[in-house]
Each structure stands twice: as C-alpha cells, then as structure tokens.
C-alpha cells in the first residue's frame, strides 16, 4: 500500500504514500516539531514528496489532519 | 365494461397499479389532474408524492427515485416538458428506467391550452443533447392510455431507458369507460442503489464513449426490430393509406370507414409507437399504392417526415406523401373526407 521507510532498522511512526503527495506544504507548515520537509527526489507525479524526520516526529497526527491527499497513515501504539 | 374515468386520472391509477411508487411533478394544463389525483393516492399505496418546486426539480426527483430502482414518473405538457429535456437526456445516458407523460397541448413556447400533436418531432428525436431515443407511446382512447402506462414502465425497464407517453389534452380531459389491470407486485429494479454499493454504477466521467456507442446502436436496433406497435386496416388493396395517431387517428379511422362505404379504396395505419416508428406496417401496404396521407394536429406537419423516410426505405417507387395538418383540436371526419377528395383531384400537393 505505501512506502515503508526505515532508518537504521527503526520503523517510522508515520507511513507516507509518496506517490500521492502534491507538495502543497500544509503538513510542513503545521507540524509542531518541524519534522517534515520536501524530498530532494522528484516522484513519478513530478512533485517533491514529503519526508519525515523520525527523531523529531511525535506521531501527533496533525499531518494526517491537514493533508488533502491522504498521504499519511499514523501507525500509533 | 368499466366505469367512466377521466383520461388523466386513468393514467395515474394505471401507474399505481403498475407498481409506480414515486411521482414528482408540477401543475400545468392539461396534465394537472394526474398530479392532483396522485397527491392522495400515492400515500394510500405507501408511495411517495412530491409537489416539486419546478418542472426541472420534478424530473430530477424522478431521476433520484429511478437511481434507487423505484418505478418513478412525472407528467407535464408543453413548456414543462421542454424544461425536462436535460433530465431526460441524463436519464438516457445513465440508463435509468422512468416514464414521462406528455399531455400534449398545441403550440410553441407558452403555447395554448388546446389539444394538439405539435410535439411529435421533439418526442421522437429527443429534445436533449446527444444520440438518445425514447420509447414514445401514443394512446387514442382512455382504455389504451391505461394499457400503455403499464407497457411504458415495462419497456423502460426492459431496455433501461425513458418511455414517453405522448397523449394529448382532449384525451387527458375526456371520460370513457375503462378497466384497470390488477395491482402489480412492487419491486425495486435490480440495478438500483441500496446504500451498500452493491451495484457499482459507472459515472459519466468514467464511461467509455466508443463502447457505449456500439451498445446504443445495438439496443436501438433491437427495439426497432421487436417493439413496433400499430393498428392497421384495408392496406392490401389501398390506393391511398392514411397515417394518423391519437385522437386524430380515431377521426381518420372513421373517415376511412366512411370513404370505403363510398367506394374509395383507402386504408389506415395508426401508430401506437411513434418511436420505434411502425415501419413494418408499411410492408403490408398494396405495392401499387398511389400515396400516403398523414393526418396530424400541428401546423407544419411532423409525422409526415417519418412516413416519407419509411416509404423511401421500403418502397421501390417514389410515392407521394401528403400531409393534412389541422393545427389543433380533433379533425372532423367530414373535413378529412373533403380533403381526401382534394388530394385525389390534385388540389392538395404532396409534401414529399
């Protein structure tokens, strides 16, 4: 279903479906921990999809709330 | 023989008996009685009656009911039916089964309140956008009105399209004895919405126009082959064949009887389906027929076009097609007879 990012063997708290991201920036602007940024890569849709810095992420779900393209899945505990 | 019933009321009751359980409409003379009758009758049978705020809202409510698989219909006249054209096109494109009753009143625009047949070309060609057709049924008596209502729903469902009952003002208003059919079991059409997404309707955005076109051509060919209906007499030896539907059709049939009693070899074809046009009836006509005569109540002659096209398709010779457009009302038999003699004498020229 989505892109499962792992950094150093640790599962991220939020799944990102990068192919859906249209780079609107709502998640970036609203993340309380400034954990989200745009990728250096360009996706198959021609956008720079978002990436999450897992160290900063607190899985608050605000990115999920703001995203118009349903990019995120918050994995939760 | 049944009780005397007003044409409009008879059609409304026939629809209820046929299992229709949603009516939405707007008052317009000479169709209003259908709506008034149903304003209490629908609830009696557990159906839904909605007095819509406009003709446009009315047809869209009927579309909503049809989308849910409920037998749904509306009734109107003149400019009211004009307003519904977008809805009829939508229902045709969405392959919904529904019935529209047009109690035709003569005229253009606001028109008149008198009986007429001036909507023929619009009903048979379709007034909305695109390549659709509707089943068009033309009663000539109150009993036939009742019978054709049931047929209208059945054909609409069989082919998933709109059936139009093209009756007329005088037939809606007059009273004749008629019998009603038994109550049909009320069923939802299997393709209707049920809230559970059982039927995955394809939206207009996602349709494949090329596949749809092929399917449409095939559907209409099947209807033309299987659903033509008409009444005919005296065709085998006819010198002239009258073609006329509805109440003018009754006058014409009477005029034909009187002309035959005077020794004229005339016959008639009374279309009961205007679409599909009863081309097969023309195959029964005397190969040496001298001409066809339409009797219609409009000003420019409308059905005459279909007769000319049919004659061209089926006959080898180039036969004249005449038109007697009596504008509005119900033409008198004596007038038809006099005009026939004028045609014979060459005083009235053919249209085609």
């Amino acid at each position: 279903m989505g892109t499962n990012h792992r950094i150093g063997g640790i599962i991220m708290k939020v799944l990102i479906r990068a192919e859906r991201c249209k780079q609107c920036g709502y998640c970036v602007a609203n993340c309380p921990k400034k954990a989200i940024s745009f990728s250096e890569e360009i996706s198959s849709n021609g956008y720079r999809p978002v990436v999450i810095n897992d160290d900063k992420c607190i899985a608050c779900g605000i990115c999920y709330t703001m995203c118009p393209d349903w990019v995120f899945e918050i994995l939760g505990e | 023989m049944g009780d005397m019933v007003k044409g409009n009321n008879a059609m409304a009751e026939a629809a209820v008996r046929a299992g229709a359980r949603l009516f939405a409409g707007y008052p317009i003379t000479p169709s209003t009685e259908i709506m008034e009758y149903l304003s209490t009758r629908m609830e009696e049978v557990g159906g839904t009656f909605i007095q819509a705020e406009s003709e446009i809202a009315g047809i869209n409510m009927v579309i909503g009911g049809a989308a849910c698989g409920v037998r749904s219909f509306t009734a109107s006249s003149g400019p009211g039916i004009s307003l519904k054209q977008e809805g009829i096109s939508c229902a045709s494109g969405e392959e919904l089964a529904l019935v529209v009753i047009n109690v035709v009143r003569y005229g253009i625009g606001l028109g008149t309140l008198v009986t007429g047949q001036s909507d023929y070309l619009r009903e048979t060609r379709g007034g909305g956008n695109g390549d659709y057709r509707c089943i068009v049924l033309c009663p000539s008596s109150v009993q036939e009105s009742v019978d054709l209502v049931t047929l209208a729903f059945d054909l609409a469902e069989k082919y998933k399209m709109v059936s139009v009952i093209m009756t007329e003002g005088a037939l809606g208003q007059m009273m004749e004895p008629c019998d009603f059919p038994e109550f049909q079991e009320v069923k939802r059409q299997p393709w209707g919405f049920d809230g559970k997404y059982t039927n995955k309707r394809v939206s207009p955005i996602d349709r494949n126009a090329i596949e749809d076109a092929a399917a449409l051509v095939k559907k209409y060919a099947a209807i033309k082959e299987n659903e033509q209906r008409w009444e005919e007499a005296y065709l085998e030896d006819a010198d002239y064949v009258f073609v006329s539907f509805g109440l003018p059709g009754r006058s014409t049939m009477g005029a034909v009887e009187q002309l035959r009693a005077l020794g004229h070899k005339v016959g008639f074809i009374r279309p009961i389906t205007a679409w599909p046009f009863p081309e097969k009836a023309f195959e029964n006509v005397n190969p040496n027929v001298k001409g066809f005569i339409t009797v219609e109540t409009n000003s420019t002659g409308q059905m005459v076009d279909d007769v000319a096209l049919t004659v061209k398709r089926l006959k080898k010779a180039n036969m004249p097609v005449y038109c007697l457009p009596y504008i509005y009302g119900i033409p008198e038999m004596k007038k038809i007879k006099l005009d026939f003699l004028k045609i014979q004498a060459g005083e009235i020229k053919e249209v085609y």
Partner: protein, 246 residues
C-alpha cells in the same frame, strides 16, 4: 498521544484535486464520520457538477452524478424512497448557490432529511475560475478580470445564514480547513449534521470555506492566508442552527 489514524476504507484511491485544494480534507472528514457513525455501508451520495464531481473517483459508495445544480432534487427523492439510508449531497458553491439555488433553497424549505456539504471556494473552479455567487468584492476572476463589481453583480451570498434564519431546518454550520483546530471543528460540524439526519430532525448543511490555489493564483499556503484574512471575516465560522445544544 500516538493514536492510529488511517484513511477510511470507503476511499479506495487518491483523488485528482489540485495541490492544496480543500476537497480532499472535506471528503476524508465525511468518510471518517460515516465510519464512526456506522453509516459507511448505508450511504448514498448525490454529487454536483464542478470540481466536486471528482468525488466520484475512488469513492466506494452508491453515488450519482446529478445534473448541474439539481442535487437538491435528486437527494430529496433518494432520501424519500430510502428514509433509513444516509444521503449526502456534495456540491460546490456554483452548483449549490447559482444554478442550483432553487433546488437548494427548496430542499431546505421543505426541511428534507438529508445533509448538504457545500464546498465554497469563491469561484467556479472546474471551468477555469469564473465569478460565483460567493466571489468577494474586487476579487479578480475569469469573468471579472478587473475585480468583482458588486453594484452590478450583487453582494457575496451567505447561504447558511439565509436558510438558518428563514427556514425550519435542523442544522447549519460553516467551517474551514485552514488550521488543525479548524479541521477538527469542521469534522464536528459534519458529524453533527449527519447525526441530525440520523435522528430524523431534517435538513442539515455544512458550508466549507476551501482554498483554490489554482484559480486564486496563489500557493496553497497563501490561499490559506486568504481564507483567514479575507473570507472568514465576511463568512463567519460556527454553528448557525441546531435543534438542541450540542
């Protein structure tokens, strides 16, 4: 704190809206509310014409693309013949307030028991950004390139205010998608609207002020700013009508 959140199953595919368009948020909130109320397998949508028509793609539910402006009539009938099924009319400001104003008003007037979600982006989006009834004074659109002159074209229409004050309706609210707080409040309004329908109280309406970066000629974040600074002062947020204190 880390609550699991997943796109509702009724939304099977992402949708084709412009980057930053508010439709995607509204649709997700509707789907979440339907799941939470147990109505996601008991739902019918009437969909208007415009960008809202794109709701059709990837929505796993009974849905009918109505003619332009006619959802008010189509949904009236769908609910009347299926009183126990939830019915939602999903329209834009053009579909609901211009061509469809008669059907929209009359459904409210009759207190029909379905829910209208009207996504208001102050222009006709799908056709390229023409003036709509909710276009602001001076706003440049494809048909008001010099700015909307309200002397000639009328003042921006406040439909929720109209129906809540004049008609016997069950629930009316206006929300927006500009901040997490507003998105959460909007979800509450949508849920209240659907609950009003489930309780048979009658007509419910939620208007959503929505960003249209493409036709406003702005970035998504600038479009959000426009809503906050120019639209909310004119189109206040909140609940205009409820049958009971919620």
């Amino acid at each position: 704190m880390a609550k699991a959140r997943k796109t509702p199953a009724i939304l099977s595919n992402h949708m084709m809206f412009c980057p930053g368009c508010g439709h995607g948020v509204v649709i997700r909130l509707i789907a979440e509310c339907l799941e939470e109320l147990g109505q996601d397998k008991n739902i019918m949508f009437g969909i208007g014409v415009g960008c809202c028509a794109l709701l059709n793609i990837g929505l796993e539910a009974d849905k009918f693309n109505a003619l332009h402006g006619r959802c008010g009539a189509v949904c009236t009938a769908m609910k009347r013949v299926n009183p126990n099924t939830t019915v939602i009319s999903y329209q834009g400001d053009g579909d609901a307030y211009s061509i469809g104003i008669a059907e929209s008003l009359n459904a409210a007037y009759r207190n029909e028991n379905f829910t209208v979600i009207a996504v208001n982006n102050t222009n006709y989006g799908m056709t390229g950004g023409q003036m709509s009834a909710t276009t602001m004074p001076g706003q440049k659109t494809a048909t008001t390139p010099l700015g909307r002159d309200c002397e000639i074209t009328g003042l921006p229409l406040k439909f929720p205010e109209m129906v809540s004050s004049q008609f016997n309706v069950a629930y009316v609210a206006r929300g927006t998608v500009t901040t997490p707080g507003n998105v959460n409040k909007l979800k509450g309004y949508i849920k209240n609207a659907l609950e009003a329908q489930l309780k048979g109280e009658g007509y419910s309406l939620v208007e959503v002020l929505s960003p249209c970066p493409t036709n406003w000629g702005m970035t998504p974040l600038k479009a959000i700013e426009r809503i906050e600074q120019e639209l909310i002062p004119y189109y206040p947020l909140g609940e205009f009508k409820t049958r009971e204190a919620r």
